[in-house]
């Protein structure tokens, strides 16, 4: 058998897992691994400028491809810097393997230089973690890490490697296991046939149905099945923030995103529904508003790979269905094909009339729902972005008002096209995630929709973009304040802007972009927006930083009224639902 050092074993395991690219930052505890990395050529390493960005980039890579993302960080501060990235991936169920170095085994627990208990620090935000205790166990640990990360409900796995486990002179036999079986971990591979049948029966009885699809459909590669099934039924479809793209955004059957900043018609339809078909969605508090008032008349079907997501917040689930969405939906389609029964067309027609009435009156895409002032409106930036990119760009968002505008006004027709930190809401996610997306898709347009607050949280990555020629386009909605915080302060704190403004100290983003070797553009005139945007995307091989000054007073609407039901919304600065 081949003899390899622990460092070499890690690199070989990555190769065996089909990993082409990893994101990392070297340091003392991982130098042996870096030396092994240097001496092989199947895995490329991208040197970021901060470990948080390494994990976000691996995350963006994974979200856009469906493959496991890999990050490599050193012990101590390297590991703790990675924590935000790991938590981000955990909340959105993104499969990652994060390899962290640790001090040599004999120093663990001695407060050694750059020592931190990574297993302990990361415990609440990982799907699982491993501390390598012998060189021999490295192949098995790596195999398990990848298996756990990508199967079932995906998630990040940490592999913590003490430095002595990777010493180049310590060679051990290496054989990479072909399969792995864990007696304590057997995620469902199919749904229960009886429950599938019940789900179909209930769906066919519906008079006012809504299909509520979430990130599980995107992660489970089930967008195609969802689309086929939804079209068969002809029922309205709403997507969660994480589910955008699971059903084509430009399709008439799509009634928009739901939730806190969801479309009026989507939230109303949910509240009035008699049957809700929840697919790969987890009834998040940003969706349900007050769970006690959630959709009082709805009989609910819930498909989820994670049994713990079922009945977690909303308790009245009539048909729970545990299983991966793709085979479950495929089974539903097949069973439906054999059934000789169709939905109630008359009821459906009336339901669509009601929904279309809501859409006419309040839909974000059916009229101008915001007042244009003499500045650039943030919503218009997204609309123009949609036009200029033909709706085909990867949109990587940061967190805040711009994120909601990007979710509302860009129509996502494809899954994995919309990349954002939905669960954790991590500012600084956008740019590094976009790097991962761009590296995975060198020929595609990748835009970062951000704000001057978020972008400054990982702005150092502009340097990484230079080094590896990642021509992402940064669409900075500059309102010179932390917009979402300010919006809440307007609505709930009498306009007292505590800690949310910094307009006098913002950098000159054009010069900043230029300092990193990129192109900077400042846009302030609404009539220049489109031509500037076209110019930006025509520079295919350059990073362009568009610093777009938008109306600083604008709010994101609709917005759920706190503690209310799905249908209770503020619609503008002057209107709210009754």
């Amino acid at each position: 058998m081949e003899l390899l050092s622990g460092g070499e074993m890690i690199m070989r395991a990555l190769k065996e897992e089909g990993v082409k690219m990893i994101f990392g930052y070297p340091g003392g505890a991982v130098l042996h691994i870096y030396d092994a990395l240097y001496q092989q050529d199947s895995v490329e390493h991208i040197l970021v400028r901060h470990e948080q960005a390494a994990v976000h980039a691996a995350d963006g890579f994974s979200r856009s491809t469906g493959e496991v993302g890999v990050a490599l960080v050193t012990s101590g501060p390297g590991a703790t810097n990675a924590i935000t990235g790991i938590a981000t991936a955990y909340m959105d169920s993104i499969p990652l393997v994060v390899i962290s170095g640790n001090v040599p085994s004999h120093l663990i627990g001695s407060d050694a230089f750059q020592e931190t208990d990574m297993i302990g620090c990361s415990r609440p935000i990982v799907k699982h973690s491993f501390l390598v205790r012998s060189i021999e166990e490295i192949p098995g640990v790596m195999k398990k890490a990848f298996h756990i990360a990508k199967s079932g409900r995906p998630g990040p796995v940490v592999v913590d490697v003490p430095k002595d486990m990777t010493a180049p002179q310590e060679k051990r036999p290496f054989q990479y296991p072909e399969t792995i079986k864990l007696r304590s971990y057997t995620p469902a591979l199919k749904g229960h046939t009886g429950q599938i049948r019940k789900a179909l029966d209930l769906l066919l009885e519906a008079k006012r149905p809504v299909i509520y699809a979430g990130g599980g459909v995107v992660l489970g590669d089930a967008a195609e099945e969802l689309t086929i099934l939804s079209r068969r039924f002809g029922y309205p479809v709403t997507n969660t923030l994480m589910g955008l793209g699971a059903f084509p955004g430009s399709d008439d059957q799509f009634i928009g995103m739901l939730g806190m900043h969801g479309f009026y018609e989507a939230n109303q339809a949910m509240h009035q529904a008699d049957v809700i078909f929840a697919v790969g969605a987890r009834f998040d508090d940003r969706v349900t508003n007050n769970p006690k008032k959630f959709c009082p008349n709805a009989r609910i079907i819930h498909i989820d790979i994670d049994p713990a997501s079922i009945q977690k917040t909303v308790r009245h689930i009539e048909v729970p269905l545990v299983g991966p969405v793709k085979p479950v939906l495929a089974d539903m389609i097949e069973m439906l094909n054999q059934m000789d029964i169709e939905p109630d067309q008359e009821a459906l027609k009336a339901w669509w009339e009601t929904i279309n009435g809501w859409r006419e009156k309040h839909g974000l895409w059916t009229g101008d729902r915001y007042t244009r002032r003499d500045q650039i409106m943030p919503q218009d930036v997204i609309r123009v972005l949609y036009e200029v990119t033909n709706g085909e760009a990867f949109i990587c968002s940061d967190v805040g008002q711009h994120q909601m505008f990007a979710a509302q006004y860009y129509k996502y027709d494809k899954p994995r096209q919309w990349i954002n930190s939905g669960g954790l809401g991590t500012m600084g996610f956008g740019l590094p995630a976009a790097m991962g997306v761009q590296l995975a898709h060198p020929e595609r347009a990748v835009a970062v929709v951000t704000g001057e607050g978020s972008i400054q949280m990982c702005i150092e990555e502009l340097s990484t973009c230079t080094q590896y020629n990642m021509p992402v386009k940064i669409i900075n909605l500059n309102n010179a304040a932390l917009g979402m915080v300010k919006q809440w302060q307007d609505m709930q704190y009498g306009g007292r802007y505590a800690g949310s403004t910094y307009s006098d100290s913002l950098p000159d983003f054009v010069k900043l972009a230029e300092a990193y070797g990129h192109i900077g553009m400042k846009v302030t005139d609404p009539t220049h927006l489109k031509t500037k945007m076209e110019e930006c995307f025509s520079m295919k091989d350059r990073v362009v930083f568009m610093d777009i000054y938008v109306d600083p007073e604008e709010h994101v609407y609709p917005m759920h009224i706190p503690t209310g039901s799905m249908k209770d919304m503020v619609l503008s600065k002057t209107e709210r639902t009754k």
Binding site: K127, S184, Y185, A308, K312, R315
Partner: protein, 163 residues
């Protein structure tokens, strides 16, 4: 309601911290916790008693099951079961009190396992309620020290929790 959840898990370093961490992370309550290896050295058996409404207990069992190290679990309170806890208790016992303590100990089928001039150390096993009752009968003023093992439990009849 009080539940006794019995968990078979991998006897791995870190497994216990994952279970305990889960409870604190999600705001679940732990009344008592016992853990030790089983006849199979690769498995540990952990018993946790907790109090919560049905929804909370459902989440506890589901979230425990999600932990990779957890092999199997059962909520013993869902069926007939035997529950035992061991207590070692040091009690002040001088003069007339000495006979009284011994008598109470006999009533509860406890054993005096250590004797000193001014105290007894008593060992008592039983359901937690019985141990509570013993403590109450002795009265806190006479108690010097109490050590309780936490609850262990097993299902009655042919039901078995094994791999």
């Amino acid at each position: 309601m009080r539940h006794i959840i019995s968990v078979l898990m991998e006897n791995e370093p870190g497994a216990l911290s994952r279970v305990v961490g889960l409870f604190s992370q999600r705001g679940f309550n732990i009344e008592s916790l016992t853990v030790a290896p089983t006849e199979d050295a690769t498995l540990s058996r952990l018993t946790v008693t907790t109090i919560g409404e049905d929804g909370v207990i459902e989440q506890i069992t589901k979230q425990l099951n999600k932990l990779i190290d957890v092999v199997k679990l059962v909520d013993l309170t869902e069926g007939d079961h035997i529950e035992r806890e061991l207590m070692l208790i040091k009690i002040k016992a001088t003069g007339a009190q000495r006979a009284e303590v011994k008598r109470t100990c006999d009533i509860f089928r406890g054993q005096v396992v250590d004797v000193a001039p001014a105290m007894y150390t008593v060992q008592l096993t039983g359901a937690s309620e019985k141990l509570d009752a013993f403590i109450e009968s002795i009265g806190t003023s006479a108690i010097l020290e109490v050590v309780r093992s936490g609850v262990s439990g097993i299902a009655r009849g042919e039901r078995v929790l094994s791999v």
